[in-house]
Point group: C2
Chain length 307, copies 2
């Protein structure tokens, strides 16, 4: 009989999340640890505490550029200490179960397909909208095993320099990092806004949640910043519609919460840019698993690949 559980891991920037997941996608146990320099040891300990004969394998989603065929991490911008480490084979050596490595937006897409907002779609594109912007593609009900690095798609040929080396990346205009940097730079230049008085005047502590909250109260700087970013997201969405014509675009990550301004603006912009005949048929919807999509999908990868 096939084993009933899998371990799903999400290696993000600040946290390491390790979970035991059932064959029906339920989270049985969940461990959250801060990502440290000693990430490999922390990982080993967490896995050990969830390991049993019932575990069919281990799936890992990593924020960054992943070589899934070889189980290596090319680039992990928020956790460079794990770059180049043959993490999949190290874990396999230690625990003797199949180990699968994927980009975290790809595992989130698997999660949404398995038991989330993407369940009823054969083809969708998932955007993760956070500090950075990632993508995952489900095609014919399966993960299309490609990087889907939509955050590093050039949408301004002569645009801003991105840490990835390119310039004009979508991420430099539509991510949480971009939104905060634009709002803060306006405040530094003396732009009047109640955002200025947050955190006792230390507006460097602003979050995108603050900006969204103030935008709902009508603050013009907050509204402008979110709308500008939303328009750029709309370009990314239109590019995906013209390229892939998915049945749905699923939006997840912190910024998807800013639906009424940022996402609405993105939808409007995409409708102006994509082929009308294609755009009309595409559903643009929020994710349903939110933060758990990554760990659930990482476990889902095991059930999908190991059998």
């Amino acid at each position: 009989m096939s084993k009933a559980q899998a371990i799903g891991i999400d290696i993000g920037g600040t946290n390491l999340r390790v979970s035991l997941v059932s064959r029906s996608g339920e989270i049985i146990r969940k461990i959250k640890e801060p990502s440290s320099k000693d990430v490999v040891n922390t990982l080993f300990h967490s896995i050990e505490s969830l390991m049993s004969d019932e575990v069919a394998g281990i799936g890992i989603g990593v924020a960054g550029l992943v070589d899934s065929a070889n189980g290596r991490i090319f680039i992990s911008p928020n956790l460079p200490v794990i770059e180049g480490i043959p993490i999949a084979s190290m874990i396999n050596d230690r625990f003797s179960v199949p180990v699968f490595l994927e980009n975290d937006a790809n595992t989130a897409a698997i999660g949404e397909k398995w038991i989330g907002a993407g369940k009823d779609f054969a083809n969708f594109f998932l955007f993760t909208l956070g500090t950075g912007i990632g993508g995952g593609i489900i095609h014919n009900r399966k993960l299309l095993g490609v990087p889907a690095e939509i955050g590093h798609m050039t949408i301004e040929a002569n645009g801003e320099k991105c840490p990835c080396g390119n310039s004009g990346c979508l991420e430099s205009y539509a991510s949480a990092r971009a939104i905060l940097s634009k709002a803060i730079s306006a405040l530094e230049k003396g732009r009047e806004s109640p955002l200025k008085n947050c955190y006792g005047g230390n507006f460097y502590k602003l979050t995108t949640e603050d900006i969204y909250r103030f935008s709902l109260d009508g603050d013009s700087l907050a509204r402008e910043t979110l709308r500008d970013a939303g328009r750029y997201l709309g370009i990314g969405i239109a590019n995906i519609i013209n390229l892939m014509w998915p049945e749905a675009i699923i939006l997840t990550g912190g910024l998807a919460g800013a639906w009424s301004i940022y996402v609405q603006e993105a939808i409007k912009e995409a409708s102006r840019r994509a082929f009308r005949e294609l755009f009309e048929t595409v559903k643009i919807i929020p994710s349903s698993l939110i933060d758990d999509a990554g760990i659930i999908g990482a476990a889902g990868l095991v059930f999908e690949e190991a059998e």
Copy 2:
């Protein structure tokens, strides 16, 4: 026993090409007719002259936006007379064999996969570089049945208006139409170049072949125009590498002939923009079937889908 032949059709802007193709991809007979207003009748006559009991089906590649699942053409910019016509079912009604409709860049990709430059790759992206720019994706050795409208990917957020309704489309910067319009507009403004004296001074007759020829002779306007366009093509290539990480990018269409300047510049630009770890592994190569990729691939679609 399965039938040994298929009819492959390419409905381009100016010509209608209908061919009888063997199961090994050889062209047995080929008919070329000008596309007229009466394209449907011309099509029927051509098919009739090639039809026999040996024909397994008919595959059609159309320049434009195609709804292949429903056998309809959404948009055919160069031949609007066939837009909206249920062309596949009309042909099927008349000839009683399976009929498959695809975008012409998709059929070209199938052709290159079947017996061309893509034969040995499981995953590649084909760019058709002509008056417009199209795309076709082979994934896991099969056509990924998506529009792949790379020519209408926004690469300049506030860029030039495109006839498709969007602005900043790749096609407006990197296609033959864009190259000619830029060279001509420079000549109109009085820019000195031997291109001015072509066609007895009627430089509106210039072709991209002329521009390439003069660029090889060192003309600075010709070189500049091709290099600028090539840089934009490089953005499109980098976007595809970051998104799809194919094993190869195959370039076809008239402009692929301008390899030593236009394409070389594109490769350089893509190397600066795509993730280095991904770019390094991607082969960027010319097509081998050239003009016949479309009709061969359209026939290939029949053998792939009908059985």
